[in-house]
């Protein structure tokens, strides 16, 4: 490893799944990796803003891309008026502000940007987010943070059903209540819900952790309550303070949920290898 300190050396490897994985591990010092063809070098000090009221969806996204191309690192979009698919596919660091609300599929497929939305978001916000930060001041629709792999996704209001469905990493924080099937088939990562949770919370979850501050309508199959450790409490305190949020009844009253792993029936063999053994 030499003088390079990797995240693994720092102890951040608890979440690594046992068994085989298709995930590629790489070193940030190697040359051949890690730059996206559409990731731009931007300067955060260079800022721009535009009014999106009379623009089409594609025009808005192209305008954001063109500003990033010319090195703008802080972009403010005014009057998004709940249009769909805005701020998607941003693969570099960027400060992006939406002054208003987004429609469906907002900020999906992003890797890196800090996004702030002063209004609400519709269904499937930040779908498949890889890294970065998205903060929403008001409510979110269903499928909030579907299949996210990394970064922080924060909704200060309430969110709809199926929040964090298929979550594979990262952190989802919801300031108020969430709907049914939240954390459905969750595979990794953490979810912090400060309000109430709907029916079938954490149904068929494989792994990962859900913290709930309010009442839970019902737990899904194989989702179990587990012991809240001091480490969990410190983590929650730190994470929530980052976003000026707090548990309504205090962190001590929060509940921690994980997978019971009763539905697990995996072994370490790939299907083809299994045949060979048999």
């Amino acid at each position: 490893m030499g003088s390079v300190t990797t995240s693994h050396d720092m102890g951040l490897h608890e979440e690594q799944l046992a068994g085989r994985t298709q995930q590629m591990f790489f070193s940030a010092t190697e040359e051949e990796n890690f730059t996206y063809p559409w990731g731009y070098e931007v300067d955060f000090e260079k800022s721009a803003e535009f009014d999106a009221a009379d623009m089409e969806i594609a025009e808005i996204n192209i305008a954001i891309r063109d500003l990033m191309k010319s090195g703008h690192g802080t972009i403010t979009v005014k009057n998004p008026r709940a249009k769909h698919s805005l701020g998607v596919g941003i693969l570099n660091r960027l400060n992006l502000n939406f002054e208003g609300s987004l429609g469906y599929f907002g900020c999906g497929l992003i890797d890196g940007p800090n996004i702030h939305i002063s209004g609400r978001v519709g269904w499937s916000c930040a779908e498949n987010m890889m890294a970065g930060k998205v903060v929403i001041e008001k409510n979110a629709g269903s499928l909030f943070g579907a299949a996210i792999r990394g970064g922080d996704l924060v909704c200060k209001g309430q969110a709809g059903a199926r929040v964090g469905i298929d979550q594979k990493g990262g952190t989802i924080i919801v300031g108020d209540s969430v709907g049914a099937f939240t954390g459905f088939m969750m595979q990794r990562g953490r979810m912090i819900i400060l309000g109430d949770a709907g029916d079938n919370l954490g149904d068929s979850m494989y792994d990962g952790t859900i913290y709930v501050g309010g009442k839970i309508a019902s737990l899904g199959v194989d989702c179990v309550e587990t012991e809240m450790t001091d480490l969990d409490k410190r983590y929650l305190e730190g994470k929530l303070s980052q976003y000026d949020m707090s548990a309504p009844n205090g962190i001590d009253s929060m509940i921690k949920l994980t997978s019971g792993k009763q539905l697990w029936n995996y072994d370490n063999l790939e299907p083809t290898e299994k045949k060979l053994v048999l």
């Binding site: 009221a53 769909h84 609300s101 429609g103 269903s142 709907g179 049914a180 709907g198």
Partner: protein
């Protein structure tokens, strides 16, 4: 996929709901370009019924054999039957060449009158009501609205639908909204698919209800009509649909003075709600509500299994 929208002005306020609903549905065009339907609730005059009916499909008008003569004949036959039953027609309007709007006075059994008219071959009643007027045709919201002159329609509440045909044909018969025959002023729009349609349809048919189309959404209208007929309140009837009807659905119901919404237990279909002191707006997508309120507004999604009813 389908897009649905609803709006209601509270406290007896009236507005140009024709234009408002046209804008909302036009914003939802991408959810369903096949047909558009409006259920508009006007003020209505005491003792006067509004009848909306059609005597042909749009497609038939282009290709049908001798259809123009048939249209005239069918309309004349409706006039004869109305007179025969003792209905006094005050006003006749041609909405299109094949769809008509009548104002009439009638004191007798409305269901008998309706059945008698619909018994005519090729004639379909879209709605009968004191406040309700139901308009549906092929094309997007602006096309239908212009064709039927809906802009400037003053009223208290409305629901609408843009349809992407999945379960049945692209024609007016399968277009939403559905009128809850034979009840005055009850209409329904629905987004989703119902899986116990045939079981429930057979059950309702055995009890004497009639279905005009093979569209699953009609079931909701007929079921709610049946429940109201048995003395249930609108909200109670809607609550029951959550348990009884199987499948995915988010639907809106309107009566003479109420607007209601219900969502299935999975919350599989979207609905965005905006509520202020004087207005409630509902739509499959927020863009529809923004089309009439471009300023920043607070909206949220009602949860799965929720039923809400507002009064005008």
């Amino acid at each position: 996929m389908c897009g649905i929208a609803g709006l209601i002005w509270k406290g007896g306020v009236t507005s140009d709901i024709g234009s408002e609903m046209t804008q909302m549905l036009q914003a939802l065009k991408h959810r369903g370009p096949d047909s558009t339907g409006f259920a508009l609730y006007g003020k209505g005059d005491e003792g006067v019924h509004v009848l909306r009916f059609k005597v042909a499909e749009q497609e038939e008008m282009k290709t049908g054999f001798d259809i123009h003569r048939l249209v005239v004949e069918r309309k004349a036959a409706v006039d004869v039957r109305l007179a025969e039953m003792g209905a006094e027609v005050i006003e006749r309007e041609d909405a299109t060449e094949y769809a008509f709007r009548y104002h009439f006075k009638f004191d007798g059994d409305l269901k008998r009158l309706i059945d008698f008219i619909e018994d005519l071959d090729g004639v379909e009643i879209l709605s009968v009501g004191k406040a309700l007027e139901l308009i549906k045709d092929l094309g997007d919201a602006t096309v239908v609205s212009d064709q039927y002159g809906l802009k400037g329609f003053v009223g208290t509440h409305a629901i609408g639908h843009t349809r992407m045909a999945t379960e049945s044909d692209v024609d007016i018969r399968s277009a939403h909204p559905y009128w809850a025959y034979p009840f005055n002023d009850v209409s329904v729009v629905h987004n989703g698919q119902l899986t116990n349609y045939w079981t429930m349809r057979r059950d309702l048919e055995r009890r004497g209800h009639r279905f005009m189309s093979n569209c699953d959404s009609e079931l909701i209208a007929v079921y709610i009509a049946d429940q109201i007929d048995r003395g249930d309140e609108l909200e109670g009837a809607m609550q029951r649909t959550i348990d009884v009807i199987d499948g995915v659905f988010t639907y809106l119901v309107a009566t003479g003075n109420q607007l209601g919404m219900a969502k299935d237990v999975m919350g599989a279909k979207p609905m965005v709600l905006y509520e202020s002191d004087e207005f409630v707006g509902l739509a499959s997508e927020e863009v529809a509500i923004r089309s009439i309120f471009p300023r920043e507004i607070d909206t949220w999604d009602p949860y799965q299994g929720e039923v809400k009813v507002w009064a005008a």
